[in-house]
Amino acid sequence: MPGLQMSGALPRRKWRRKRETVSQAPFARGINFRTRHLMQDLRTLMPHSKADTKMDRKDKLFVINEVCEMKNCNKCIYFEAKKKQDLYMWLSNSPHGPSAKFLVQNIHTLAELKMTGNCLKGSRPLLSFDPVFDELPHYALLKELLIQIFSTPRYHPKSQPFVDHVFTFTILDNRIWFRNFQIIEEDAALIEIGPRFVLNLIKIFQGSFGGPTLYENPHYQSPNMHRRIIRSISAAKYKEKQQVKEVQKVRKKEPKTLVPHDPTADVFVTPAEEKPIEIQWVKPEPKVDLKARKKRIYKRQRKIKQKMDSGKTK
């Protein structure tokens, strides 16, 4: 492989990933299979990364900084799963730099059969950003952070010298969408390799895993709140129905006001003519109920048939 000189800018940048779970509690883990696969996929795509073990929930977040220093890394991606449903991701620049917390949604891993592309393991990626990243200061900060994390250093020992895939970061609907495409032809024909996910920014902190808040996303709604709202909508519907019913009940029980009899109302009332009294001396014919008759006939037939069948089998 050409160019294996260790240039000055070399292994200063290494990244690391961790996951969190309740290691001591007897109930189930916080991380599900999809998250685990996502982490594995990111490790495959970033040869400059080192994985770390699960962390105990009891420890505070700044412990991560120490672990980073021990492993000689200066960036960190930290995954955190809550309630077995929500996945949060921290991106941070380890010793003093800024960090950001995201909610991760719409995860699709490398192993999905719809992602048909493939790339060299450890090849350097091309990073493509939306122009919106340059417009707002918090996006500019995020862009720098993402560049420093996701780009593979040149001449890294585990990297391949080719550039054959591209990461896209796009801003849509106040979220960051991540896609990974393989470059097939020189005329920019692309196939998706995967994985893909969506990052919903929550907060940017000045320090690593702590420190004063630099930015808070006003469009962010915590997944709990989201679920709560959905539930309250359906609950509100039910409540409204109940309320209406109650009101009706109360109204029925109210004493009705008696309206005095109005003599003028009877003016146009004419009593009906008197009919002659008819006495039936003969019993009327029984009405023929066709349906009942049919049913009887059918039942009889069935019985006969059953008898014959049972006779045959005997």
Partner: protein, 315 residues
């Protein structure tokens, strides 16, 4: 219903009285609402932080590109304001969204490739370079299989659809053609019958019926078509072909055929079925039936006894 936060414990009576005297309180249930939550946006702090931790690496190390998506091929030069409106991709529309991501990646690739070539960074893997891929071969095999089955299923359904449509259409066409043929045949037969029975001594039906059976234009046109189709062949076969005449005589209409007298004067005088060659034993064209030797090569066969005696007596 409206959810109202009832945090009125925070507001003291004194304050309420003040507000009332100033006329700020209105009748009804007054609640303390929180103002809209102010999100922290420390722009200066952000910029400072960015300046601090930003690293000025060479572009080669970072390989980043910030570009909008490739414009659609159909769109021509549009002013920038329209461009922005166009760029507002609907995030709910999956296809549009993915296409915009794809085009953004394309734009980046197209912009970067020349630079990479300048810097002598390879983008194409040589064919003899074998290295581990991000997805294992097994995985790629699975993917290929899935694609194949999908394709096969699609083709099958397409074929089935086409077959169904074809069958329907074919059936329709078949019935039409049969009916048409039947009609033409009936038409022709009627006309021939009439001619044979002597009701009309004109052979107009061959050229196309002038006396229409149904008096609309379509029938007339059909007559023309019939004429065209039958044309010369029909005319010939109806009148001149010996085979036709024989068959007409034997199987055609017009009187009793079997049980007629045979040895009448007319039948005796009728020498039309005399073939000289057959009578003299020549002209048989069936190979292999004339014995083993094929010595008769256009030459005559050895004449019979009587003919030989005659020849002898002549000379």
């Amino acid at each position: 219903g409206s959810d109202s936060d009832s945090d009125n414990s925070l507001v003291t009576d004194r304050e309420l009285q003040d507000a009332f005297s100033r006329g700020l309180l209105k009748p009804g249930l007054n609640v303390v609402l929180e103002g809209p939550k102010k999100a922290v946006n420390d722009v200066n702090g952000l910029k400072q932080c960015l300046a601090e931790f930003k690293r000025d690496l060479e572009w080669v190390e970072r390989l980043d590109m910030t570009l909008g998506p490739v414009p659609a091929i159909s769109g021509s030069e549009v002013p920038t304001s329209q461009n922005k409106a166009q760029r507002a991709v609907n995030p709910e529309d999956d296809f549009q969204r993915e296409i915009s991501f794809y085009r953004q990646a394309q734009a980046a690739v197209l912009a970067v490739l020349p630079r990479l070539h300048q810097l002598k960074i390879p983008t194409k893997r040589p064919t003899d370079y074998f290295a581990e891929m991000a997805k294992s071969d097994q995985q790629m095999q699975k993917i290929r299989q899935k694609l194949q089955t999908k394709q096969a299923a699609m083709e099958k359904s397409e074929k089935a659809k086409q077959l169904r449509a074809l069958r329907k259409y074919g059936k329709k066409v078949q019935t039409e053609v049969l009916q048409k043929r039947q009609q033409e045949k009936a038409h022709m037969m009627n006309a021939i019958k009439k001619y044979q029975k002597g009701f009309s001594d004109k052979l107009d039906f061959i050229e196309g019926d002038q006396k229409p059976i149904s008096r609309d234009k379509k029938a007339g046109a059909k007559g023309q078509q019939v004429k065209k189709r039958l044309g010369v062949l029909g005319c010939w076969s109806a009148l001149h072909s010996a085979k036709r005449r024989y068959k007409n005589q034997k199987f055609g209409f017009g009187g009793k055929k079997k049980g007629l007298k045979w040895n009448t004067r007319e039948s005796y005088d009728d020498v039309s079925s005399f073939r000289a060659k057959t009578a003299h034993g020549r002209g048989l064209k069936r190979p292999g039936k004339r014995g083993s030797n094929v010595s008769e090569q256009g030459a005559q066969k050895r004449p019979g006894k009587r003919t030989r005696e005659k020849m002898r007596n002549r000379t």
